[in-house]
Structures are given as C-alpha cells and as structure tokens.
C-alpha cells in the first residue's frame, strides 16, 4: 500500500543521533506491517528514539546578570527534561523532535554563525511565543491503520505554568476531535488545567495517539466526523481512508515550518539510507565494545556488588 519510503530531517548541525534513532524506529517497524496487519508491532527495544537531549547549544545567549535573565535557560532545560521523559516513555509509533529554535535558541538564528538561517525571516509568532516540537505519528491498526500524520506541538513560553501545549496536525485529519480547518487536536478536553509536576508533554503525545484508537465523539471539533461515526460508520471509514491517503500523498512535502530540525520524509534512497539502516540493525553489539573500552583506565571500582566496603571485590585467583 505504501511506497517504501523513509523519512529524514534536514537537520544541519548537532544531534545527528536523534535523526538516526528516529529513523530506526520506523525502518524496523514498517516492513512487518505489510504482513501482519492486525498486530501492533512491538516496539523494538533497541530502536527507541533515544536522542541526545538537545545539548545546551554552546552558542546562544541570555540576558544580563539579573536573575530573570536566566529564564530562557530554565525554560530550555524544562523542555529538555520533558523531552527526555518522552524518550523514556517509548510511545509506540510516536516520534518527536524539538525544533532548532526552542526557548534558548530562538535567539540563535540571530546569534549563531548559520548565515543561511539569518536570511530566512521567520514568522514572529512561531519563533517567539512558543517552543516548537515536530512530530509524526504512525497508526498501526484500527480505523486509521497505515496513517502517517505529521504534527507540530506548540509549547507556551511560560511553561510549565501556562496553558497546556497545543498539538496541530499538518493536514487536518478527518477525526471528530481534530479541527477540520486548522488541524488542531482538542487537547484541552484532556488537560483542562495544566499542572506542573503532574502533567507532562508525553501525556499529550500519548493522548494524541489514543484518539486514533478509541474514538470519542462528544463535543467534537469536527461535527461531521462525529455524526458519521455515530450514524454511518461505513462512510466514516471511507472518509478516514481518504484522509489517510491524502496524508500519505503529502508525506514528501516540505515541512510547513522552516526549521533545520523539522521532520522531512524522502523516498527511499539506497545510497543514503542503506548504510544507516545497516548501522541500526547491527547497533546492539556496541555496548560490549563500550564495556571493554571502559574497562581501560577510566572507571575504577573494587567494591563488590552488594558490599559497602572499599576493596571488597575478590581478586581473581591467580594460577600458581
């Protein structure tokens, strides 16, 4: 049904691992999908979209020495922490990528040496009021099976004390809870009030995934979809299939938002993708090498596991 495609992002600098990992998840899950349609492919354990949490971009700036000036740092790290939580959750079929211009780095386009970036003038609204995450969700069974929906998460600047993040699909998916005009998902109904420490962005993503498996029609943003789902499930299904097809046909479109970290899909190109794929499939052997290496000089311990005495580890008995 689908072309053998792959996705990539147009990331320019830093976090190349992120892209690879994101790629891993999909590459490994997509082929079995064709054969065993009814099953939810299990998430390969080693293909988790582990991402180097966007390291503090060494080049950016903050405001002056007063304490408020560290605000952007706090926001950036809050978002990074959220992101690490997302990574940890291993949500099946959901992949996100913080935008290049998040809290701290929204100044970056001016500041850094990426001259090309400077020329592109970005809509103020997108760069200065929100931190942006790009995402894509793969639906693996149910009514929306084979759906690949790209979306964008907008996180308010006063996070975590502000409103709940917004999640907008790039193309309005035919769904009772998705606004047919803007593509925005009704997140508010799940998170009426955003509570710090209790609510996390991964919950939003999980919610976004769930709505495609368990359809709720109360107070819909798309009344047509809601009514059809209740009254004429066949028509609803065919509309959904159309919507899924529409999304798939636009898969290779350029991302709406100009950002080096926006998720971009491209047709499978063996020259580019085969090597990366190979790397991922053989990836799991690495830890052992790593172990050997770490046995070298760095990392010292002679404490026996379970003991609290220094030098309690027994020496290997020596041949006499």
């Amino acid at each position: 049904m689908n072309p053998f495609w792959s996705m990539s992002t147009s990331s320019v600098r830093k976090r190349p691992e992120a892209e690879e990992k994101t790629l891993t998840g999909e590459l490994r899950t997509s082929p079995p999908r064709a054969s065993a349609k009814k099953q939810l492919p299990s998430i390969p354990k080693n293909a988790v979209p582990i991402t180097k949490p966007a390291s503090p971009a060494p080049s950016s700036q903050s405001t002056n020495g007063t304490h408020a000036s560290y605000g952007p740092f706090y926001l950036e790290y809050s978002l990074l922490a959220e992101f690490t939580l997302v990574v940890k959750q291993k949500l099946p079929g959901v992949y996100v990528q913080p935008s290049y211009r998040s809290a701290l780095s929204k100044f970056k386009s001016n500041v850094t040496n990426l001259k090309k970036q400077k020329q592109k003038i970005l809509p103020l609204k997108q760069t200065f009021s929100f931190a942006v995450w790009f995402g894509v969700i793969f639906i693996r069974h149910g009514l929306y099976q084979d759906g690949v929906f790209k979306f964008t998460v907008y996180i308010p600047d006063n996070y975590p004390d502000g409103d709940c993040p917004r999640l907008v699909f790039d193309l309005p998916v035919f769904h009772p809870l998705v606004d047919p005009m803007s593509g925005e998902l009704d997140v508010k109904r799940a998170f009426a009030k955003w509570r710090r420490n209790h609510n996390h962005i991964w919950q939003v993503l999980m919610y976004a995934r769930r709505v495609f498996y368990k359809i709720d029609t109360t107070s819909p943003l798309n009344p047509e979809a809601a009514v059809l789902y209740e009254k004429d499930i066949q028509l609803f299904k065919s509309k959904v299939v159309d919507s899924v097809k529409l999304c798939s046909s636009h898969l290779f479109d350029q991302p709406k938002v100009e950002d080096p970290y926006a998720i971009v899909f491209s047709p499978w190109n063996p020259a580019i993708h085969d090597e990366a794929r190979e790397k991922m499939l053989t990836q799991k052997k690495k830890p052992e090498d790593q172990h050997c290496k770490s046995m070298h000089v760095s990392g010292l311990s002679w404490v026996k596991p379970g003991s609290v005495q220094p030098f309690s580890k027994e020496e290997k008995t020596m041949p006499t």
Binding site: S55, N110, P310
Partner: protein, 1007 residues
Amino acid sequence: MMSTGTSISKNRQAVSLQGVDPETCMIVFRTHWAQVLKILEKHDPLKNTQAKYGAIPPDEASTVQNYVEHMLFLMIEEQAKDASMGPILEFVVSENIMEKLFLWSLRREFTDETKIEQLKMYEMLVTQSHQPLLHHKPILKPLMMLLSSCSGTATPAVEAELVVLLNQLCSIIAKDPSILELFFHTSEDQGAANFLIFSLLIPFIHREGRVGQQARDALLFIMSLSAENNVVANHIAENTYFCPVLATGLSGLYSSLPTKLEEKGDEWHCLLKDDWLLSPALVQFMNSLEFCNAVIQVAHPLIRNQLVNYIYNGFLVPVMAPALHKVTVEEVMTTTAYLDLFLRSVSEPALLKIFLRFILLHRHENVHILDTLTSRINTPFQLCVVSLALFRTLIGLHCEDVMLQLVLRYLIPCNHMMLSQRLAVKERDCYSVSAAKLLALTPVCCSTGITLTLESQEKAYILWTKAAQTKDSCRGTSESTCIVECGRAVDISYLQYLWEAQEAILQCLKDCKVWSAFYDGENPDPDTFIQTLAEENSKDVEHPMFHLQQRTPSMCSSSQITPFSEKMQLELEWDDSYDTGISAGSDVSSPHPYDDQGSTEMQLPAEPPKHIQEMKKNAIMLIKGSYIEESDFQDDVMVYRLCAQKDAQDDDNSEKKTLNVARKHRVESQTVNNGPLANSQLEMDLDEHSKRNSSLTQGITKEQTNQKMIAVDPQPDLELKPAPQDADRNLNIRLLSTDGEDFIAQYDKIIKELDPNSASLEEQKLGTPGPVSPAEEEEDFENFSADTPSAESMSSPFGPKEDFFPKHAARSQSAPFTGPFISVVLSKLENMLENSLHVNLLLIGIITQLASYPQPLLRSFLLNTNMVFQPSVRSLYQVLASVKNKIEHFASIEKDFPGLLLQAQQYLLFRVDTSDAAEELLTKGNIQPDSSAGKGRSLSEASPAILQPFLGHKGKKSLALPSLPVHVRNAVLAAALFPEFLKELAALAQEHSILCYKILGDFEDYY
C-alpha cells in the same frame, strides 16, 4: 683480540663481500682458523704441558686477534640459504670455535678491556649477522659464560657494555620467543641461576641515566614476554628477586628525595612535570615508578600481584606512612605533594589500587591516612592547599572506593535527611528550580561590575570566548557583534558553564558505569547498610585477603607498630642472611628464624611460599646500599627532633606548640622503634586492644570509628531516653575506640594548660587569613555554623584528630553526620572570604567535582535545594547562603566595593586568559590521559589547575590588586568568584536534570 670490535667495523666499511664466491670465503675462514688454532693449542695446558698461564707472547696474541677479526667479518656477512646454516656458521658450530676463543681470552689476562671487547664482539654478532646465531648452543654457551663472568663486580665501562648487549639480547628474545627456551636450558647447564640475562639486569633497575634506561627497557621486553609465558612468569616470581628489588628500591630512592621543597610562592599546590624535572632525585624516583607502572601493565598477573604487594608492604606502609607523619609542616607538605604526584602519575589500575588502599584503609598510629589527610584541610598553613590538591586528584579519579569512603558511606543510611525526603533522592529537578535558587544567591552587590556596562561586557565576552575557543572553535566573532546589536547584556559564561557541566557529568557517568551500586537511596539499602557493614567486618576476620589491609582486629592491634617491627625484621633478616651468600641455590636451604613473625605482619595475602621470603632477603642484600639509607631515613627521628626543636626556637610560639604535639607522638613512636623495647610496647598495645575489643560488640574494630557513628544513629530514641549511664558508656567506648586521637588531644590540652599564651595565639591565627572586622563576622558565623570548626580545631595543624573527630563522634550520637570530609570542606567554604584565592579555587574545584557525580545521594545532597535535611546537617545551600550574607555585609562596609570588585574580576579574567598554556602543561605532566586535569574548564574550575605559579608569574603580580590589605584582597576576590561558583553549580544542577536518566542504562546510545 684486543680491539676486535672496532677494527672489524672499520674493515667492513672498506671491504664489501658482495659477489664474492661463498666457497672462497669458506676456504679463507678455514685457513684463518687453522692458523689461530695452532696458536691456541700451543698454549692449551691440556694439549701442551709446557703451556704456562698468562705467558702468551704479544705477537701471538695480535696474530690471533687479526685472524679472528677477519673470521667474524666473514661469519657476519654470510648469507644463509633457506633455513639451513651457512657453511661458515656450520663450521663454527661444529668446531666449537666461539668457546675456544672465549677460553683463549680467559687464558690471557681477563681484564675489563678484554671483557668489553668480547661483549662488543657478541653484540655485533647478534645484531648484525644475517643468520640467527643464538639458536646454536656452541655460540650461546660461550656467550652465557661471558655474561656470567661479567656478573660480579664490574666497572662502569663494563656495565655499560654489558647492559647494551643484554638489551639487544632481550629485544631478540622478544622478537623470537623460541630462543627463550635455549637461554633457559643453557643456564641450567651452567648450574647457575636460571635465565641469567634477566638476573643480570636486575641490579640496574634503579640505575640513573642511560644504563638504567636501557636495562629497564630490556626488562620490559621480558615482562611482556612473561605475559604469555607461564614458565618465565613463574621463574621471575619465584626464583628471582625482581619484584622485591623493584619495590624496595622505591623506598631507597624515596629516601633521597628532598624533604623540603624550595619556596614556590603561596600559590603552589602541586608538583608539575616542570617542577620535578628540576630535581634529579625526583626524576630518578619517577623513572622507577613509571617503570613499575609499565611492568604492572605488561607483565604476567603473577608478577603483577607480587610487585603490587611488595610496593604496598615495602614502600607505602614502611616509608610513605611515616613520611606523611613527619615532624615539620614543610616535610609533611612535601610528602603530601609527592603522594599527589604519584597518584597522578600512576595509570595502571592495579598499582593505583594499592595506593588508594593505602590512603583509604591503612592506619598509621591508629589513625587512617585518609582521616589524617582530611583533618589537614583545616590547617591554616600551606599544607591545607597541598592537601586540597591531593583530594582534588582523588575525587577526580571517579573511583567508587574513594567516594564510598570519603563521602557516600555517610550518606547511604539517609540519616542526613528527613525521613519523608528519602523518596525525593531520586527526584529530578524538571523545571530548574534548584538552579534558580542557587543563582538567586548571587549577592546584589556582585551583579555590578563587568557584566553591567556594555563596553566592559563586550570586553568580558571576548575574554571568555578566548578561553572557550580551544574547545569549541566554531564560535566566531560574528557572535559578539550580534550581541552588541541586540543591545543585551550577555552572560555568555553561563553557556560555557553548561557546556562544561555536561562534559563533566558525562565523563563521570561513563566512569561510574563500573560502579557496583547506584547510590540512589535504595541501593545500597539504607536500612540494611549497618548490618551489611557489620557482617562484612566479621567476615573479614577470616578473609585472608584482608591481612594486607590490616583491617581485622588482630591486625589493628599491630598496625601501630607494623611499620617499625617490619623494618626491624628486615634488618634482622639482613643480619641473619649476611653470610648465606648471594647465590639463589644456597639460600633456599638456609634457616629463617623470623618466618613466623614475618608472615603475620608483612607477607603476601596468601601464605607466602618460603622462597619468596628468601627472595626478599636477597633483595635486601642486593640493594643493601639503598636500604641502609632507608633505615637511616627512618631512624632519623632524633635528627628530626633536633631540627624541630631548633625550628621551634626560631619560630613563633604557635609553631612551637605544633611541634610539641608532633614531637610528643614522635617520641611515642620512637619508643616503639627502638629494638627490644618494642616488645613490651607491643604487649601493652595488645592488652589494651583486647580490652577494647571486649567492650565492643561484634568485633567492630576501632578502625570503624566513623562507621560506628552511623551504627549508633538509627537508635536515637535509645539515647533520648533518660539513661545517662548508657550514654556514658557509649561515650567511653567512643573514647576508647578513638584513643589515638584522644591521646593527641590530651597532649594538646596539657600543652595548652602549660602555655597560657596559646589560646590567644589561636584566635589571632584564626584571624590572620583575613580578619574582616572579626566582631561583626562573628555574628554571622555563629548564626550559620553549627559545625564550623572552632578556634581550637585549628590549633594543631597536623596532629589529626584532637578536636575534630571526637567532636563529631560525640555529636554523631545525637545528630546525623555527613562525614568528616564534607564537613571540613563546607566549613572551609564558609570561610570563603578569609581564604586566599587559591584555597577558594581548590575548594570550588573540589565541590564542583563532587557535584558532577551522578549518584542521586550525592546529587541530592549537594544540588537539590528543595531537600529538607536534619537540622544538624549543614547543606551546601546553607553554606552558600551564609557566604552570600558575608559578602553583602562586606560590601556594605567596604567603601569602594564596586571598584574593587571590578578590579578583582579583571584580574581573574586575566588569569584565565593566561591559563591555556598552563593547562596544556598540566596535561602533559600527567601520564594519565583523562584524569581530572585535562578537561574543559572555566574560571573557577579551570583556575586551580591553570593558575600555576610557574607560568603565571610574569606580569600577573602587577595586575593583582595592588596595595590592598590581604584580608580585603581575599574578600574581594572571593566576592568575585562567588557568583561564578553559583553559576557553575546551577549549570551542574540543570545538566543533571536532563542527563540523569542516562544512569538507567540507555547510556551506551550516547557514545
């Protein structure tokens, strides 16, 4: 034969045998040999009864020599076909020519010159010949005879030549291990010690200069060979005195190190390569240490273990331990700096392990070396700086054992926090709350200065970038222009801190992967911790391995006297074995009356084989020279005492007092030291100890002083009950168990009583670092510091415990305790304004290093500002808050504070600027590639390593806040450092919040 080697090489240049018919060569060779043989037989007593020893006419000798030169030349040039011998070589072998020639040279006068010629001849043969010669016994055998004839007394010239030849032979063996067998067998035939080559090299191990270096290189060839060859390894470990010589030789070399280092200025805190290269004695020692390191790296485990044990028992315990407890501050400081240098230089884990074991577990005069070192942080002398540098090295190792003993064991029971907080240990700070709180401690008065005005801000920025550029060169100048465009004030430095924090934490995370536990408040389990500890202790009694550590009760009793009795024993052994001769064979059978005594105290963990003890004896004989020096070194107490007394007279009273204390316990040790007297002393000790043991349950030894404190903690209700007797008894136990400290404390007290001046002097001394209006300071001080060391604890600079530990010990019965190290570092930090700049830099370096550790227990204690601790526990946050208040107070009374601050900031930036080269230097001086030294640094963290006096001196002084009173200068510099320190901590807190999940195992994916 007189100048065979040289003349042959001359000939070779003139004549080339290219294209000459091999048969012709053969014929020439045979005729030459026939001529030579005629002369040889004429003088052979067996063949010619008229031949007389030594009566060889010179003309005949020179004839032989000429012929031989030509013959050797022909032999070297002969090209072998396939694997078979060339005809000349075959002839040489079948006629046993080499042996006959050797006998001939013996028959003539066997002078040094003859030896040198022969040695040179063989060196040329083995290195230049086109075919392998050493496989042939008729060649090998005379070679071995020559070597063994050179083994005795030899002049430097012969030694030099001998070592060159041995070195060549070793390198040949390393390339072709099959020859090794032959060497073994040949030596057997000789009836001499096996593996002659090796034995011959041993005396040169510690030699200085080229000879020593060549010998060590040669030995390393054999060592790496031993890794794969059990026979060689066994032979070296069991039949040679290689390891003992190597280890005890360190002691000998150490004794010739300067006991005082020349004045380096008060910024000096550790020995860098530039320093020690200036001292020949130190260079020699470092060469030997480096060699030990190399041997341990390449040698067979058998040799490695033996060597490591000898270094522990033959160098660290008998030499380093007493040296760390010398009489004068200078000596102790020097030793500490040496120890720090050794730790930084050693890279092999096995070797590092015994150094660390020595520091962490060895007890000298009943006090752990670690505790002694810790207590020295609180001294007002330069010793404090050197000790801090040592701790920075230790913490930078990222070694679990070090961190466990230093900090974590006190945190594991989680007594330092409120019970409800235990769950919060693992919590992460998602919203940078802690970072915000830390940054909020920045004193208002410090936000002025460099970061405020646009001009200076830009300047500051440029300076910062310069420091940063080495690490991240992709940042260009466009940045700074942008910043100016933006018109914003910039805290570029914070980004740098974040970057460095990430580097530091990741490095630490990587290193801590091998740790045995997470230290997250659950593993090890805080509730069973004490039990585990107790169980392990009781187990240790039977554990043979721990004999080495002197951990068991029986060991404890002797630990005080071990070094001395051991030495005594060594001396006795020496006396006893003096007439047994040096040959290994005869030694094995010689009786050894001191075996029993020896094996309990100083021998290898496993019951050492007899021959090992014999070997040790040999070793002592062998390095007799150096060992005598060494014993002088130890017996010199009298001399030191005299010096000390003289110093005391010269110096001021406070100094004298110090010396008194030290002298007192010197006297004590001296009694032990003096031969027969030691026995009674020993018995006394044993008695005392057994009493003590009975009073302690579960055989917890006094060594567990600190652990015991914890052990008492979990039953606070028990103590709260009105049971004064109980408490008293506890206290008694405590006093008994810390009697070492107690006894010093008593001396202190007595001396104090005798000297009415001392009290006032103390206060004065406390003030000297920076008496910033003491009266006002006092208030702050009292408010915040429950456990700030009072004046008394400063009084005895290196009489370790007198106040410090007993005080904490007493406290520990009612209050939780985060360990002596944390307390002393935090209390020192609290005095930041009085500390000199380099003390502060080291403190900051240590704390940031500690804060880089990913273990939740440590992280939550240092960086989680929301944690609620027990009231008696002082957290880093509280201490920082106190410093903040002090700074603000200081700013309010100092007239031109903003101006001074600006000056201080500029001065610090200037130092960072000049630091890049210095950093490079430190890394170079470090054998260890990724020790704490070489990483990215910024103002505060970088500076300690960077701000070395040796480079920085030029021009730095001129900028250094001229004409300020010391206390104002210190305070202003501290005020300038403080906000940077906060940023560093905040950066670490932020990075932890996003990196800590990596502990859980997804870690590999990062790299």
